[in-house]
């Protein structure tokens, strides 16, 4: 009823294989995009930008990156935090070394550098699988954090060991530093997240994506049908690293503004992004967004309900927040192990048939 495909005919192959084959879906997608680009920037304020939207968009990029690795290629990584740190430190070095270059160039460059580093740390995946690989990526996590802390070159020899993001602009609009307007930081993240989603979507449905999925489903079988496992795994690490690097760069330069590697890019970050990917749904771009939204909004929401609305002491609220988040994660996994994306698919299926259930 609400969600029809009657009269929606595809007359060519490209039409049939597009991302949103159903007209209604397509329009909804355009409406969401238009809302995000044309409405939100005009109504957003500091709180909404810094507490909700900017972290949500940045985490969505990181989740897309990790989802490519875990959801599409089946390689579990717990090094996301450190890989984000690579992006952050790369962009910091670039920003301070070439102050006149636009952020639109620095951020992708930082992504490329991260892609290189992540590919190197992806090499063990050729021999190690499953949880052994997950724990092996922790080696990257701890080593990189130690390295960024130890080598003063990375933080420009500052006495404090912290990196602070200087003020940089894009076409004259300040996007980093304290004087950036809320809408400007929001917009730059939105642009990158949109690009990331489009690129990821098109990569994963192309031949590269099929190779990844073949490796994920059964690597030996994939090898037999002619997929080169080394190329497939390493490209997955590289592409994933690129997105995670971009996310790390934005996280430091646009969102935090100052960072210390151990505190901002510790192992908790790796787990957080992994949560997003799994809660959202493995192997789904939409799931990455849903997971990021869930994990960013839930604590803010719970805090506002417990403290702001019910007026409970903050420590009680924080403990309950732990309990509720942990409980919700378990409940979600029990009810729908394939994540929010699967719930969304089921809902769509129901809506298509409504009001006739059969």
């Amino acid at each position: 009823m609400f969600y029809r495909e009657a009269g929606d005919f595809s007359t060519s192959y490209p039409e049939d294989s597009q991302t949103f084959p159903i007209k209604f879906d397509r329009y909804r997608y355009y409406v969401v995009l238009a809302f995000a680009f044309l409405v939100v920037p005009f109504i957003i304020n500091d709180y909404w930008a810094n507490a909700v939207f900017v972290p949500f968009l940045i985490y969505a990029i990181a989740a897309i990156g990790l989802n490519i690795l875990i959801g599409y290629c089946g390689q579990v990584s717990l090094g996301t935090g450190a890989f984000m740190a690579v992006g952050a430190y790369a962009v910091y070095k670039l920003m301070t070394a070439f102050p006149e270059v636009s952020m639109l160039i620095h951020v992708p460059l930082a992504g490329l550098i991260t892609a290189g580093v992540v590919t190197i740390f992806g090499l063990p995946s050729l021999r190690i699988k499953g949880f052994y690989l997950a724990v092996a990526t922790l080696a990257a996590q701890f080593f990189l954090v130690w390295l960024f802390n130890k080598v003063p070159w990375f933080y420009n020899y500052s006495a404090s060991g912290q990196i602070s993001s200087p003020e940089r602009d894009v076409f004259g609009i300040i996007v980093t530093g304290p004087n950036a307007e809320a809408w400007a930081s929001y917009m730059i993240c939105l642009i990158f997240v949109t690009l990331a989603a489009v690129i990821a979507r098109n990569l994963t449905r192309g031949s590269l994506g099929r190779k990844w999925m073949a490796i994920r489903d059964m690597d030996i079988a994939a090898e037999i049908i002619g997929v080169n496992p080394m190329m497939a795994k390493l490209t997955a690490f590289a592409v994933s690293g690129f997105f995670i690097g971009v996310a790390g760069a934005l996280f430091f330069s646009v969102y935090l503004g100052a960072a210390e590697v151990g505190e901002s890019f510790g192992i908790e970050k790796s787990f957080l992004v992994l949560f997003m990917v799994i809660i959202g749904g493995l192997g789904s771009i939409f799931g990455s967004f849903a997971g990021a939204a869930f994990m960013v909004l839930l604590p803010v929401f719970l805090k506002n309900v417990f403290v702001g609305y019910l007026g409970w002491p903050t420590d009680l609220a924080a403990h309950l927040q732990f309990i509720v988040s942990g409980g919700l994660i378990i409940v979600f996994l029990i009810l729908e192990p394939h994540g929010l994306a699967q719930l969304w698919r089921l809902a769509k299926e129901k809506l298509r048939l409504w009001p006739f259930p059969h």
């Binding site: 949880f131 080593f143 799994i278 994660i329 996994l333 192990p337």
Partner: protein, 328 residues
């Protein structure tokens, strides 16, 4: 003997001792993974929770005092009694058994046959949950844990080695007790799994769930059993680590110390956990001693992982892990 060699020997011995402490944490992981294929990230938090419960029972703390006071406006803190350590340990084991049953009944029974990564995530959810409950139940201040274990330098070793070699070795009494406890624990586990009916059932389940089920072994019972044992191991680890630092939130981070041990020893091997722990302990201490000063120190955290990674490149299933057989 040259001084450096003596120092290296002392460092190696202490590395072995530290390795035992790592192995204690890793043991809990192995037990659960072997029996149910769950990579239990919550093991560290279980150690924290067990230690908190132990201290809480010993000091007669009122559980959930904070929330009760907040809701009813009362001023409860302590029951005013002190429970002897041994009784408190037994009571805590009881709590951990109940916990195991709850986990099995309300979480993992619903997740049978899910992919390993989903089970892993569920344990992370469990870890969050338990962190919140632990804090809410017993408060978040640092508590002193004293079950009567000796701590500090062992004078006998100090004096003997000084007389023999001219340099007194430092060995912590707590580490010695930890080693003894670990040996007893492992011996008991081995006896249990070799000579008792439940132990044999446990090994059968570890080998093949469905075959075990078909000869009439109750999977539910075995899983509750194995989570209880893991809870007990967590309590022992919690006591040993908690004696050093007091019982506090950071105790849950000891799980991170156990992961390289697991990688190295294999997720499915109890001897692997022990040997892996010893190798990691000695390896990281010696590296810190020999190479650490050249690169600025504080290398232990990452070196343990790198060491394990190097091992894995040559033996992808870990030192004692079951050989991975892949079929299409």
């Amino acid at each position: 003997m040259p001084e450096q060699l003596l120092f290296a020997m002392e460092v190696t011995l202490n590395g072995l001792m530290a390795g035992v402490l790592y192995a204690l944490v890793a043991l809990g992981f192995v037990l659960i993974f072997k029996a149910s294929g769950i990579f239990n990230y919550a093991q560290g938090v279980m150690a924290l929770f067990a230690a908190l419960t132990l201290v809480g029972i010993m000091d007669g703390q009122v559980p959930f005092a904070h929330i009760i006071n907040a809701i009813f406006g009362t001023d409860l803190h302590h029951f005013g009694w002190h429970v002897p350590a041994l009784v408190a340990i037994i009571l805590t084991v009881g709590v951990m058994v109940v916990f195991a049953w709850l986990v099995q009944r309300y979480i993992f029974r619903h997740l049978v046959n899910q992919e390993p990564i989903i089970l892993f995530m569920a344990t992370i959810g469990l870890a969050y949950f338990l962190e919140g409950v632990g804090d809410l139940m017993w408060g978040s201040e640092i508590k002193k844990l004293d079950v009567g274990l000796p701590q500090g330098i062992n004078d006998w070793i100090d004096v003997t080695t000084f007389e023999a070699m001219g340099y007194g070795f430092f060995i912590d009494n707590l580490d010695i007790s930890a080693t003894i406890v670990a040996i007893i624990l492992v011996a008991a586990l081995i006896c249990f799994s070799q000579y008792t009916k439940q132990g044999r059932a446990l090994r059968a389940v570890a080998d093949d769930h469905q075959a075990a089920l078909s000869v009439g072994i109750s999977l539910n019972f075995i899983w509750v059993l194995v989570w209880s044992i893991a809870g007990f191991v967590a309590l022992v680890a919690g006591i040993m680590w908690g004696a050093k630092s007091g019982v506090q939130f950071s105790l849950s981070l000891i799980a991170l110390k156990a992961l390289p041990v697991l990688m190295l020893g294999g997720f499915t091997s109890i001897p692997g956990a022990i040997v892996g722990g010893l190798i990691i302990g000695v390896g990281e201490k010696l590296f810190e001693f020999l190479i650490g000063p050249m690169v600025g120190g504080a290398t232990e955290n990452w070196f343990a992982y790198v060491l394990a990674l190097l091992f894995l490149v040559f033996r992808p299933q870990g030192l004692f892990g079951e050989k991975i057989i892949e079929r299409v």
